[in-house]
Structures are given as C-alpha cells and as structure tokens.
Amino acid sequence: MIALNHDPYNLIITGVGGQGNVISSRMIGNMLSARGFQVTIGETFGASQRGGAVMSHVRISSTTTLSPQIPEHQAHMVVSLEPMETLRVLESYGNPDVGVICNTRPTHPIGVISGRLSYPSMEEMEKTITRLSARSWFFDATAMATKIGDPIFANIIMAGALAGTGELPLDRNVFEETLKSKFPPNKVALNLEAYDKGYGMINRD
C-alpha cells in the first residue's frame, strides 16, 4: 500500500446543504477504501440539508479505524464548496499546515439575504484563507459546473481538484468504476468531465 504523507490523514469537505457534500465524501472514501485504506466518514444529514452548513470528515489511515469526528485543529486538507464555510471550518479545524481548495461561489445565508448580517467580500476571504493555510487554491467551481450542465457537478469538480493536488492516492480508474456502478452511462461521462476539469485546476509544482 502507498504510504500516506500523514497517518491518519484528515480531510474535511464542507459546503451548504444541497451542494452534494455526501456524494463527494462517499466517492472519495470509496476510492481510498478500494485501495485498502481504513476509511471513516463522519457526517450528519437531516435538518442540516435545509440550507445549513454541512461538513463531512473523511479520515484515512493504513492501520486503524478512526472516530467519525476529527479532533479540533487537526485537518490536513479542507475542500470547500462555499467560501464562507471555509472560514468556519478553519476556525475549528485549521492549523498552519492545512491545505485549502475553495469554490469561490458564495451562497448567502438567510441572515445576509434579509440584511441583518453582511457577507464578507471574496477578496477579504481569499486573503484570510491564504493567511490561515499553508497552500490554497481558489476557483469558481459552480460556474464550471454550470457549463458542464448542472451546478451540482461542483462537488465532483472539487473531488477532481483534490486528486489533482496529489496529496491522496486517488485513482481516476477507481472513480470511473464507482461511477459506473452507481450512475447511467450519460451521467458517468458528465461526472468524469467534471472530475477532469477539477483535476486540471490544480497547479502542481
């Protein structure tokens, strides 16, 4: 088995209910489980689907079954489908060595829509996130997904981007196999397109 650069490796996928967090974390979990890693995914769903902040904890180890909750400030990577949620996650799970992949498309919470609260500017958030992480990538995955045909593909674009960082042994073939077992052929092609687009967004130097 390929050695992980951290064992356990703690990945957080975050966003807003309805953005496809659960599918994304399961896809990534399946890809790693298929390679023999111990994977625990912690998540909650139910009320949180209704526009609330959602978070999946994906924990990977070559030796032990881990708990479904990452201890505070122990994340190695944060994949975020919504920029403000990135900040919320870093506040509790960030540390100077954490990596961040961030979709820049905001989803305003009710408090912001109604004008009770103000949403931070992307410029400001990008600056803060950069300061709070060791490495970070920003792009509008929702715009890319809409071009593919549905904004929901942002979750797969982000999974592709995670693969692009090379931090985890994610194998595109395993992704394709998992897709084929779950989706009809036309959906498989679109998901692969999303994955590859995301993969291409990461500048590997």
């Binding site: 489980s33 995914i41 139910g46 479904p68 949620e85 009710i110």
Partner: protein
C-alpha cells in the same frame, strides 16, 4: 447491484453504519422489517426496501404499529426487524412493555437510533433506559464492523431467550461510514405459521400473551439472568491497555473510538486502559468487576445519560471491592458534560484534568493559530429550501393571524415545517413538541374560551404526521367541541427524512401501487369543515384561512381543516423542474425607497433571492431559484416577474 446483497463473505466494503445494520439483518435471514422514518434511522428500512424482494418491508403508520407488524412475523416463527429513531421508541413503548413480557418466537430485533447532541432532533432522548425499564437485553455497536456482527447475533440471542433484543445505535455511527467485512448470506427457508394450541406457558407452541403475569415476569427475570451470563463471554466486550491502569475508561458505542483515539493522541497508552462494553444491559458482572479490581480510578465515557455509570456503580456496591479505594469520574462528577454529544475534545478535557496533563485541555495549535481569532462568521440558519411550499404556507398563516389581530397563534408539529419556529418561517410556531401534539395542544387550547381565552388557535401538521398521530387528537377535538383550525401541510411525502411514502399516497414502501387514504375525506368523515388550497396561491389561501379563523364559515366554531397541497420542491417528481422563469425588473425594483420594507428579501427571505446592496435592489440567484414564482406574488411593485415555461 448493491454489495449489501451481492457481497461475498470476507469481502470488505465501505458502508454507512445503517447499511452495516442492514447487512447484519440480511445475514441473520430476516423476513419482515417495519419502521417509521426518523433521522438517523431512516436508511435501514429504505435500503431494505430497495435491495431485497425476498423481505417484506413496510413504512408503517407509526412506530407502535411497526413494532406490532414486526412482532406478528416473529410470532409466526420468522425473524423480524423493527426500526425507529429514539422518540419512536416512546411511541412504541406501550406495546414494547407487553411484548417484553409475552416474549417472542422468531428472532426479533428493535433498532433504536438515538441522536446525542440533537443534530437532527428536537430532543436529546436516550433509549438505553428502556432496556432496563422493559427488562430486555440490549447491544450497542461501537464501530461499523460491530454494527453488522451485533445485528446478526442479536437475532440468535433473541431466539435463545425468546425475547425481543434492543440494538441501540447513534447518529455518529448510523450516518458515518467505515469498512465492513461481510459474513455469509443464508438461503431463506422459513415458513410463516402461528402456533397457538400448545400449553399456555409453552413459548414455542402456546398462545402469546402477558398473563399469567406473575409467572411470565419471573420467567422474564430468569431470561435476563441467562442473558447476563451469555454476555460475560461476549467478544463484544473488550479491554485494551496495561494490566493495572492508572485510569480505567469504561465506554460503549461510538465513544469507544473517541476514547481510544484521544488516549493515543495524548500519549497516555501506558497509563490508561479502555474497557469497551458492547452488551450493555444486563451488564455483564465479571468483565467489569475484574477490571475494576485492577485500578483506582474509573472514567465513564458515554452519551447521553449516565447509564453505564450508574449500572457499574450499583454493581460495584454489591461486590467485594473496596469502594473507598475507587474514584469514579463521569457525568456525576461533571468531568463529562451531562448534555450534548461526545467528541474528542470532551474526552481530551476529561483526561487532561484527571491525569493532570501539562498540555491541558486546549489543543497546542489553537493557542497560536490566527484562525481562532477571526471576526464573527455569519451563522447559516437552516431554513426552507427555495421553492418550498412551507415558506408560502407560513407566510399566509402569519399574515392572516396579524390581520385578524387577536394574538392568534400556531401550534407546531414534527417535520420540515418545524422550522416554522425560525426566522425563515417568520417565527410562526409558538409550541413544538412530539409528533401529533400540535393538534392535541390545539384541542386543549380550543376549550379555553370558557376561561376567557379569545385568541384564535391554529395547528399545523404534515401529511405523514397526520396519519402517524394527528388523527386521534382531531377526533378528540371534534367530539369535545373544541375550536381551532388545523392546517395540513401536504407536500406529498415524508419530506424531511427523504420522501418515504405514507398511507395518503398511491404507492407502498417498495413503490408498488397501493390504495391511498384521502386526508380531506377522512377529516370530513370525522365531522370537520374542510377546504383544500394551493399554498402558492397566496390570495386564495389567505382568504380561506381568514374565513376559518374568523369563524364566519358555516358551522361556526368547531374544528376547521385547511389542506395546503403542494409537493415538496425536492420531491422526485418536482426536483429539477421549474414552473416559472423568475426575474427582477431592475427598473421597477427601487429597493429601500419602495416602502415595501424589502418584503421579498427581508421578510419572505427565500434563499433563491439575493439582496444586491450595492445596487439597492433584489436579484434572483439562478443557481438556487426553484421557479415556484411565489416571490412575484409577494412583491407589491410587480418588480419580480414570472414567466411560465412553455
């Protein structure tokens, strides 16, 4: 197909805790499974219905009936499963008490899913006390593999004892995923036949009932003693750590993983041992007492109530142990909080204090990490989805109650529409308790005119909740001449838990055709005045509701039922479809200058809208808008325009 039905013994798959329970039940060869949807338990029945045609699966009308349906299968010699979230156990409790006493025949397991931390609940109820109260054995899986193995073994145990067995899971196990190595699937071979002509006391051939109570209760106690003995040898109780630990953690369920992880993280493996109990009622004496004899300090890590803590203390008090040499830490000593779910931080805090660790309970990272001193991040309140009929319904209820101006109020109930208590639901709900209790409370409020109360009373309930437990209070209200308006928010499915069908729909659990029960006709047959409106038609809905609460209708006073029928925006039939293309005319929207108090964004506040502060006007969020077009009815300037899709 799913590895749940196809997977071969020895294969390992990533599975949700609930899927592992499904696999365990399949490996035990169950024939019948019944339940009522409730987070975090819903995926169990849902998955069984999807993957297996050999099993009869049923979304029952409520948890008590589910338990009865499953029990019937057991009485006929089959293995059966009943599934519910914790509050459902309260609903089923009356039958469960009698079932525990009468005993069962085919293996019968009740899966109860608790939600510590109330992540998807409006209470933090605890099922484990029921094992003690009902006097039945209980198992608590500590990880994904155990979820499969324990479920499978629970059926065997049930048949050994002729007792129903409780399997208690929690959200962080049921909804988390981990690796599970599969066991063997049997070939189903059981035939259903209910034997009743044997001796009254013959568990296998006699009639199944609780009398004679004295004899049956004694035999129940004997069976529990037998369970305790079996539990002493159970591989589900494990110990990891030094022979004589400075501190012994006694834990169960998912807390085992938190405990072991924190012990490793803090580097105290040589000082702390972890005794994990999987068979938690009746408590197996020997494994616990022999470990207590090796230490002077004990910490209990469990959620929600101090269940094991109390049981171990009782056990210790009745043993030969020198109690003066033992110090117990846990919920009673407040080293573990009495409320809320467990997590690594809480275990860290307890261990750091008890072991006097220098690092203290605060993670060394957080001391210097700038992320912990950020300006406040706007919270993300949960709210109704874009296109949700409930937003429109509550907007109307709220508007009408304000127009009526007699301080009328709305009693809430359980479902997505419970969010009617939040800003996104205009703070409409003023009471919120258990399933069906909105109607029961309204029935009571509606009788208080005798004592001077003249506030209009409204209750809401969903379509599934109506069948679950709103029908008896409605009967009660009509018969006792109470006066209130029940608004049934009929969105064509059990929406919050994932669109499970209910008796009002023309499909059954497996999606096959079934006779629907018409809610309006049921209410009318009971004697209520009924109307049905489309909640997206704000005008018609508000007019009807106003007439109802003003009592100007025929049959003045009495119980009125308004059915607001519109499918959920996320329902399979509506998802990805839009009725209207909605756009804001930038010339007509004049923002704050309008005098509308920005009703679309400030008041109606659908997440499909964006308030563009820079340009002082509302816009539509194209990614989120579901195209229901209701905001166009809300806008007094006709600035929000909707165009029907061809």
């Amino acid at each position: 197909m799913s590895p749940l039905t196809r997977g071969n013994p020895g294969e390992t798959h990533l599975m949700m805790g609930n899927e592992a329970i499904v696999r365990g039940a399949l490996e035990a060869g169950i024939s019948v499974a019944a339940g009522y949807p409730g987070t975090p338990s819903s995926e169990i029945i849902e998955t069984l219905a999807k993957i297996s045609d050999d099993i009869y699966t049923e979304w029952s009308v409520n948890e008590k009936v589910a338990l009865e349906v499953a029990a019937a299968a057991s009485f006929a010699g089959l293995r059966s499963l009943a599934v519910m979230k914790q509050p459902g156990v309260n609903v089923a409790a009356d039958f469960l008490m009698h079932l525990a006493l009468s005993g069962v025949r085919g293996g019968m397991v009740i899966v109860a899913a608790d939600d510590p931390g109330a992540l998807s609940s409006i209470n933090e109820g605890e099922t484990r006390l029921y094992a003690k109260l009902m006097e039945i054995p209980m198992l608590e899986p500590g990880n994904f593999q155990e979820a499969r193995e324990m479920t499978c073994w629970a059926f065997e145990l049930s048949e050994t004892l002729n007792m129903p067995v409780l399997l208690r899971t929690v959200t962080r196990l049921s909804h988390a995923s981990g690796r599970v190595t599969l066991g063997k699937l049997p070939i189903p071979d059981r035939k259903a036949f209910f034997r009743f002509d044997g001796d009254m006391l013959d568990p296998m051939e006699g009639p199944i009932m609780t009398p004679p109570v004295g004899i049956k209760h004694q035999s129940q106690q004997k069976k529990l003693q037998q369970a305790a003995k079996l539990f002493e040898e159970s591989p589900f109780n494990t110990y990891e750590g030094p022979e004589s630990p400075e501190l012994l953690i006694i834990t169960t369920s998912i807390c085992d993983l938190y405990s072991k992880e924190v012990v490793a993280l803090l580097g105290v493996k040589d000082r702390v041992g972890v005794l994990k109990l999987g068979t938690t009622w009746p408590l197996p004496a020997q494994p616990v007492l022999s470990r207590l004899a090796t230490t002077r300090n004990v910490l209990f890590v469990e959620e929600v109530q101090p269940f094991i803590e109390e049981a171990v203390k009782v056990l210790a008090a009745g043993s030969q142990l020198d109690l003066s040499s033992l110090t117990f830490y846990g919920k009673y000593s407040r080293h573990i909080p009495m409320a809320g779910e467990m997590n690594p931080e809480r275990v860290t805090a307890a261990l750091s204090t008890i072991l006097r660790l220098e690092s203290g309970p605060v993670s060394p990272v957080s001391k210097n990490y700038p992320g912990t001193s950020l300006p406040p991040i706007p919270p993300r309140e949960i709210s109704f989805c874009p296109g949700c009929p409930h937003r429109a319904s509550f907007f109307s209820i709220n508007t009408v109650l304000q127009l009526d101006n007699r301080q009328g109020f709305t009693c809430g109930d359980i479902g997505c529409y419970s969010m009617g208590m939040l800003p996104g639901g205009f703070f409409t709900l003023k009471t919120l308790h258990s399933m069906g209790s909105g109607s029961g409370l309204a029935s009571g409020f509606g009788k208080l005119d005798k004592f001077g109360m003249d506030q209009p009373v409204v209750a809401v309930c969903g379509d599934s909740t109506f069948f679950h437990s709103a029908m008896p209070p409605l009967v009660n209200a009509i018969h006792n001449r109470s006066a209130f308006t029940l608004v049934i928010l009929d969105n064509s499915g059990t929406a919050m838990t994932g669109f499970q069908p209910h008796p009002g729909l023309p499909v059954d659990t497996k999606g096959n055709q079934a006779p629907p029960i018409d809610i309006e006709r049921v209410c009318r047959a009971m004697g209520a005045t009924t109307r049905t409106c489309d909640p997206f038609d704000l005008k018609a809905t508000q007019k009807q509701l106003l007439e109802f609460i003003n009592g100007k209708e025929e049959n003045q006073g009495g119980v009125k039922v308004l059915i607001l029928k519109q499918a959920c925006a996320l329902s399979p039939k509506k998802r990805h479809t839009q009725s209207f293309e909605v756009a804001v005319d930038p010339d007509r929207c004049i923002g704050e200058a309008c005098g509308c108090n920005r009703i679309c964004t400030r008041v109606f506040a659908c997440p499909g809208l964006i308030w563009d502060a820079e340009n002082n006007r509302a816009t539509i969020n194209d990614v989120l808008c579901a195209g229901c077009g209701v905001c166009a009815s809300v806008c007094p300037q006709n600035a929000i325009q909707r165009k029907e899709f061809p």
